[in-house]
């Protein structure tokens, strides 16, 4: 690997770090500095001004904004995620097991959706304009046009209400057999796979078609290459960067999807925890959950960029 490539990757990592800093500031700004005074939230509208003032100073709420931001950031780095406003439990304890649940759901979804989407996206591009391609296109437009909750509720309607194959609700805690696990994960995973795969298919197809339209693929055709050879040997290796990007961007739809899907299926993950936290305005919990999702998203995008740099033949 040349030093030039190393430099590019270093720059990419630095950008990711800077982005994370801006993002954490935005999250902090939105939750801690917008109107809606934390002390008032905690004590309720009926609290006396003295009580509010007392709590404000106890929580350092009167300190300058940058100091509070720094204190919060340092806490995050140390793993001190704060204490829930609602039940005084450490946020880290609230999140613990639920984080694993969410990762499991996301992981299983990725395992299904990525191979499915790549196959459909690449073959649709290969047979561009065919009936098959048009069917895939219409189906994916349909799915990305409807809200995630509609995908999930339709899945419930079909599989639970009419076919009665699967339970409508998930509880990841009482999984003892493979059969049960299948039942618990089937619906959330099916719903999420639809949402994520549709995006991924569209973007993969577009990326491959872009490379098919290049002069070097035309050259391959004029050498007598078959269609699969043109696509697999000539177009695909050059589409790796865009495809990896498509996969990363689509997987980030998992974040939005997970929030809806965990709520609908009552799945005990951090997204459900966060939505419940919003209802009770539990700011430390929300800040932490938001940061977890942002870090996850940023890592995916950064990883995709680095793979794209490594896959670029011009940088070899």
């Amino acid at each position: 690997m040349s030093t030039y490539v190393l430099n590019l990757i270093t720059v990419r990592l630095l950008i990711a770090a800077l982005t994370l800093l801006i993002v954490s500031f935005a999250v902090f700004f939105a939750t801690a500095m917008l109107p809606g005074d934390t002390a008032t939230i905690l004590l309720g509208q009926a609290a006396t001004p003295e009580a509010v003032a007392g709590l404000r100073s106890a929580m350092h709420l009167d300190d300058p904004a940058y100091l509070r931001f720094l204190r919060w950031l340092v806490g995050l780095f140390r793993g001190d995620l704060g204490t829930s406003y609602v039940n005084n439990v450490a946020v880290a304890d609230l999140i613990g097991g639920r984080f694993v649940n969410t990762m499991r759901l996301a992981g299983i979804t990725a395992l299904f959706s990525v191979p499915l989407a790549l196959t459909l996206g690449i073959t649709a591009a290969m047979f561009r304009g065919s009936l098959y391609d048009r069917a895939v296109t219409i189906l994916t437009i349909g799915i990305i046009s409807i809200p995630e909750f509609m995908v999930a509720t339709s899945a419930v309607l079909v599989f639970s209400v009419y076919l009665k194959w699967l339970p409508a609700l998930s509880f990841a805690n009482d999984v003892t057999s493979i059969g049960q696990m299948l039942k618990v994960f089937a619906m959330p995973v099916i719903s999420l796979t639809f949402v994520v795969a549709a995006q991924m298919i569209r973007m993969t197809r577009a990326a491959v078609i872009d490379t098919i339209n290049t002069p070097y693929v035309e050259t391959a055709l004029l050498k007598g290459a078959s269609r699969p050879r043109m696509v697999l040997r000539h177009a695909l290796p050059n589409a790796v960067g865009p495809i990896v990007n498509a996969v990363a961007l689509s997987l980030s739809y998992l974040v939005g999807g997970v929030i809806i899907v965990e709520t609908i299926f009552n799945y005990p993950g951090i997204a459900k925890l966060m939505v419940d936290g919003v209802a009770t305005r539990d700011l430390p919990l929300i800040q932490t959950c938001a940061m977890i999702f942002c870090v996850g998203y940023l890592s995916l995008i950064t990883l995709a960029d680095i793979i794209a740099i490594l896959a670029n033949p011009r940088l070899r």
Binding site: I141, I146, P147, L283
Partner: protein
């Protein structure tokens, strides 16, 4: 010649029938949102059916909801909120994004770098997450929703417009205008904007779809439009208890959202290549 005239010329012909269907459904919902208060068969807040989750009947064309209110009336009124909030948010987002994007492309240098870096960072917060965070911090009102949705989708509009404007900015006619001594406003307004207006409007349509979906998602979680008002997402939220019986009250609002978003997507997908083309 003004940009609107050139657009009219471009839009004048070559519309496929699929695109026409998309356009008609879009317009239909737009008109419904405008005239809804005058055509609803029953008052939206009033319990008119003795049955809850009532089936489709000649009296209640789309059934009744979890309290026995008329769904047709609630859907028609819901269109006002879904279409209205989304339209307001997308207009703000695209206006600010496009103006900033063109300025950054033309000015370049540290201004471009700073704005791009900042907005890219904002863009890396998933939309639904920002929605949740803001609602948690300041609560949910229609104004908050519009501003939040607009802020969430400004970076995307910026990025899109900047990418187009950067391409145009390398054209020799921009160099000619610069060497003539033209200022920023002329270059942005007269030289760049007419060349990107088509793709920008198509992008506005796509962003409208994203905003409708995000708004519906937030409302579905009970964090968007609050009672007594209800947009289509909130209607699904209210009536989700009817899901086990397959009640029309939970299915119909979803279909309403789908009909709007799919028709916008169909229209955009069937626009002439020239307008859709990102590199144009």
């Amino acid at each position: 010649m003004t940009p609107s005239v050139t657009l009219a010329q471009k839009f004048g012909y070559r519309f496929s029938w699929v695109g026409m269907i998309g356009l008609s459904i879009m317009l239909l919902w737009g008109i419904m949102a405008l005239i809804a208060p005058n055509i609803i068969p029953h008052p939206v807040g009033e319990i008119v059916d003795e049955d809850y989750f009532g089936a489709i009947s000649s009296r209640f064309w789309l059934g009744s909801d979890y309290l026995g209110r008329d769904m047709l009336s609630r859907i028609l009124m819901g269109a006002r909120y879904t279409v209205g909030i989304s339209l307001a948010a997308v207009s703000i987002a695209c206006f600010s994004g496009v103006v900033l994007g063109m300025t950054a492309a033309v000015v370049g240098g540290w201004f471009d770098a700073a704005v791009s870096r900042f907005l890219d960072a904002m863009n890396s917060i998933p939309g639904k997450l920002s929605g949740l965070v803001v609602v948690a911090a300041v609560g949910s009102s229609i104004t908050v929703l519009i501003v939040t949705l607009a802020v969430i989708y400004t970076p995307g509009a910026y990025r899109f417009a900047r990418a187009l404007a950067v391409n145009i900015n390398t054209m020799d006619y921009i160099t000619v205008a610069r060497t003539r001594g033209e200022g920023l406003v002329y270059i942005i307004g007269s030289e760049i904007l007419p060349n990107i207006i088509g793709p920008v409007l198509a992008d506005l349509g796509l962003r409208f779809v994203f905003i409708v979906l995000l708004l519906s998602g937030l409302s579905f979680l009970g964090l968007g439009v609050q009672p007594p008002y209800a947009d289509w997402g909130a209607l699904v939220h209210e009536n989700v208890g009817g899901l086990p019986f397959g009640a029309p009250a939970v299915i119909v609002p979803s279909l309403a959202i789908a009909s709007l978003t799919i028709s916008v997507n169909l229209l955009i997908d069937n626009l002439p290549q020239k307008i859709r083309d990102r590199s144009a």
